[in-house]
Symmetry: C2
DNA sequence: CCTTGCCAACTGGTCCAACCAGTTGCTACC
DNA sequence: GGTAGCAACTGGTTGGACCAGTTGGCAAGG
């Protein structure tokens, strides 16, 4: 049994973050004082302080010396890294995330096609081959119904190269934010991404377009691929706000 | 004179973060022990711990009990919120950020046109009027050469409404990440955004398209607007990676 | 009565000192 | 020479104390 020692400050952080993101405490509310929290969680005040520092770093609370620590409106002050902390059971959140991914992916494909270096193209070809092999193996082993995590990993590595090939650090960081913690939802991600992962034809077209420096074709292929997943996520409904 | 008291933990955090983001310490390197750092910065170990917690939260370091704290490759592990912490003098970073913004803005415009509620449309009309008024005032006061921060604020509020109208929390958070700390660079942002801020015709077309639920026209208008700024940021060069 | 000023009781910020709990590497024993 | 174990690191946690801002009520003055 993995003991999975979790630092007490992390316990406090997770609890407070969950209270804020779930709306149990509302923006403008004050959170209890550090001394009160340290009693409530039965930990030392220093641990509480470390947790509060992290909340502050995440843009969830505003701390003021002498005054109360207030909860901020994370929809206004939070950064993209909060996305993976939102309640994963909310399919609206998932759709929102994949819409953003679709938007960025199309641009990434186009810019990768326009800017990829020879080195990038070589990496892309290698990853594409690995992905194709994984797909073959997956279809042969699991059948076409349920692609495994291995295929998803190979697909991610493919996009990894594309993102790097854009030479744009902002795309890179946004991509990181969208992926962080996705390991926790890999199981469900595979379901949503099924059609996208198994569309070999369009994937090949995407790779070919990038290798051929055809930005428009690359963008179109990326759009087609991501559309599969958006369709899988209740296409007719707008995501919850 | 504003004393601008900065908590010591923030001083340590800023120093360590700068060392990492600037590359003075490389991924895989170990950072000095907490006790060493507390001596070096002449602060208490708890202050160092709070700083390290924030570094950990930002995805810049990996802490392991008993072992050394190692620097991570922030280009792989960092989130979008790091973007505004990157050296602002690097024009490549600015171009990367505005490319991402352009990508998202086009999608935001299209989805806002498709999904805006009557309430959203009313807000949009109000903000559009306020922006137009600010532009008139700006041109009359400062001349067409240098739009002031007030115009930029009005423009941001306009986009604020559009982002909310998409009903997509991911767009909202990404938008937040792109704006955070931009106040620090408002002066330079105004220069880059000049042509975009003063293109009244296209701005009006964008608002009209959203009010008219014309997603394609909204996307096109947004693309035209953001293209102005990308052109201002050395259009012929790819951003530095 | 109302205003004004001060002080006490909060809040967070910082420090010291100690100990617990993992990791690492050298050393001394087998 | 191999290995068990001890020491000397590392981070994790605790307690207590004090400094430094903010807040609100209470009392003295108008």
């Amino acid at each position: 049994m993995p003991d999975a020692r979790v630092p007490v400050s992390t316990v406090v952080y997770d609890a407070l973050r969950a209270d804020i993101l779930s709306g149990r405490v509302r923006p403008g509310d004050g959170i209890p004082s550090e001394r009160t929290l340290s009693e409530r969680f039965e930990v030392n005040r220093h641990a509480v302080r470390e947790a509060v520092k992290r909340l502050q770093q995440a843009g969830l609370v505003q701390v003021s010396h002498g005054g109360a620590t207030r909860v901020l409106d994370w929809r206004r002050t939070g950064g993209l890294e909060l996305l993976v902390d939102l309640p994963p059971e909310d399919v609206g959140v998932a759709r929102a995330a994949y819409e953003l991914r679709a938007c960025i992916a199309a641009d990434v494909a186009a810019r990768a096609a326009a800017r990829a270096t020879d080195e990038d193209r070589a990496s892309l070809a290698a990853r594409a081959a690995a992905f194709a092999a994984a797909r073959e193996h997956c279809v042969a082993t699991d059948g076409p119904v349920s692609p495994g995590p291995a295929l998803l990993d190979a697909y991610r590595e493919l996009w990894d190269v594309l993102v790097d090939a854009t030479g744009n650090i902002a795309y890179r960081l946004a991509y990181n934010s969208l992926l962080h913690g996705e390991d926790a939802v890999t199981a469900v991600a595979v379901i949503y991404l099924r059609d996208e992962l198994l569309d070999a034809e369009t994937t090949d077209a995407l790779v070919a377009a990038v290798l051929d420096s055809d930005a428009d074709a690359a963008r179109a292929a990326a759009a087609t691929l991501t559309a599969h997943t958006l369709t899988a996520l209740s296409p007719t409904e707008a995501p919850s706000r």
